[in-house]
Amino acid sequence: MQTAWPYVLVAPALLVLLLTVMYPIGFNLFAAMHRWNMLESQTPQAFVAFDTLHKVLQESSFWSALRITVVFTVVAVLIEFMLGIALAFLVNEDIHAGRLIRTLLVAPIMATPLVAALVFKLMWNSQLGIVNYGLAQVGIAPVAWLAEPVPALVAVLSVEIWHNTSFVFLVLLGALQMLPRSPFEAAQVEGATWLQRARYIALPMLRPAILVALLFRVVFAIRVFDEIFVLTRGGPNGATETISILLYRSAFEYFDAAGAAALSVILLVLTAFFAWLLIRNLYGKPT
């Protein structure tokens, strides 16, 4: 009886995970193996095995979306880390009003993505936006930010970076503050400069925290949807269409349930790799 207790306690959690996560994942596999237009039918139309998956993998829109997802993720995460690490080192120094500045820097961390997207949509607006106004002050002609491929990507990236630099900052500042004092003091006695201490002592010791933050940032950047949906809907001409947006559009604009399910399966397989990486690095080999 004693040993049954933990199973009773985790049973609700297992039930919830099975019903709300495992079943949908299985359903994706099922739907992806069919032909299924949602306008024509509420149920799968024909079993086609891997034909749908095969077709998705042959479409240029998929490869374009994959490329944009990778570019978006790499650029966003890279900039977030450069800014976040710099800010963490900065606030870790003995500055005036450090606590207040820290609090303000963390403000965006949980902000509603939709709200952030709307505010940025206005700021990047070609006629009403503050960005073009600022550019005009220094004599630069207005840019149609959301209507041209590269500017649109810049605009979308800006929301993501504004939103998530605070996460990198917070995690690394926490890690910095937990580092032991003595190696730094020893290095200072030996005459190491601030930069040397940061580069050769702090950064190596921060590696575990950086790795965790990096993995979390990557998996969350891959899934970004709200910001792009509000700013550009994947446009202009697919220039900001990530896999999430492509998936949404194939489901709710082209009503291709099977194609969207196939994309879901691909996305799950891609992120499963990161999940494996994270678990392996953090907690050793899962049993």
């Binding site: 933990p6 199973y7 306690l9 985790v10 609700p12 959690a13 995970l17 709300t20 996560v21 994942i25 359903f27 739907a31 509420q42 800010l87 900065l90 606030v91 120094e93 003995d94 500055i95 005036h96 009003a97 500045i101 609090t103 303000l104 820097l105 403000a107 949980m110 509603t112 939709l114 709200v115 952030a116 709307l118 505010v119 206005l122 700021m123 106004y133 630099t165 917070l170 995690v171 926490g174 925290a209 965790v212 979390f216 949906f229 509000v230 998936l247 949404y248 489901a251 349930a257 969207a260 879901s264 399966v265 992120t271 499963a272 990161f274 999940a275 994270l278 953090l282 899962p286 049993t287």
Partner: protein
């Protein structure tokens, strides 16, 4: 001399950090400012920095069809999600922290993997199944989806907080005649109350902020706040002050939570991978 040089450096660093904080805050301040202007004044450039705040946009938003119901829906859906996740998370978190049993690690890693899978990959199954069940445009469907997204987080966070309380405290209570249930609920749970509060806020905000499932699973009567605000854009002649006022209303509780929770945020956002 060294003293002067040091305090100069300190001031310089403070200025740089302050500038970064100001840049971070800018979009939020901008939103708040526009929400307090009239439609006519809102978008004049250069922006009018000293102006008399008016609450026209707020009252317009408040009386706009669908806004108050959406606010209520958001509150109901987020609260219901919170109740389910917290119940399930407390039970599982306690078991995973206190007992060693076969399959414990599998459950933990499955939960973590679930947290890492992108929710967008579950949209199609939810959409189709809810249609089969006749649950499209229902709050129930949203709660189900949000429970899926937030249960893993609740399990991991709460397990972490239970881990921090030595089991000996419960053992002592049991020696004194308390049952295991009493020991857990009267000794340990009160001790992790701050952790439970932090977890609650995380789950609530997660549901409150969600947009993708809300636009796909609801159409009218179960609309939540983010979806209704997004619809303001679709209308002819965008009323920016109203959008900013509605955004401020949606964001205010989140910002308050952020400031209240600071010490728990890192732990929460990494599902316990980083201790706060």
């Amino acid at each position: 001399m060294i003293g002067i040089k040091q305090s100069m450096t300190r001031i310089m660093l403070t200025i740089v950090a302050g500038a970064a904080a100001a840049a971070t805050l800018f979009p939020i301040v901008w939103m708040l400012m526009l929400s307090l202007k009239s439609h006519r004044d809102a978008l004049t450039l250069p922006p009018d920095l000293w102006f008399r705040p008016v609450f026209d946009a707020y009252s317009a938003v408040w009386s706009r069809a669908g806004f108050v119901p959406a606010l209520l829906n958001s509150l109901i859906v987020s609260s219901a999600t919170l109740v389910v996740c917290l119940t399930v998370g407390l039970l599982a978190g306690y078991a995973l922290s206190r007992y060693r049993f076969k399959g414990a690690n599998t459950i933990l890693f499955a939960a973590l993997a679930t947290r890492i899978f992108p929710p967008v990959a579950l949209v199609i199954p939810y959409y189709l199944n809810m249609q089969w069940l006749g649950l499209q445009d229902s709050k129930f469907a949203l709660v189900l989806a949000y429970v899926a997204m937030n249960t893993p987080l609740a399990i991991w966070m709460l397990k972490g907080y239970f881990d921090a309380i030595p089991p000996d405290l419960e053992n002592c209570a049991m020696v004194d005649g308390a049952s295991r249930w009493q020991a857990a609920t009267r000794v340990t749970v009160p001790l992790i109350a701050p952790g439970i509060a932090a977890t609650s806020v995380f789950v609530f905000v997660g549901a409150w902020n969600e947009f993708l499932f809300a636009i796909t699973l609801t159409s009218k009567s179960a609309r939540t706040l983010p979806t209704v605000i997004a619809e303001f854009i679709g209308d002819t002649g965008i009323e920016w002050p109203q959008i900013m006022a509605a955004s401020t209303i949606a964001l205010a509780p989140v910002l308050i939570a952020t400031f209240a929770l600071q010490r728990h945020i890192a732990a929460g956002m990494t599902a316990g991978a980083i201790k706060g």
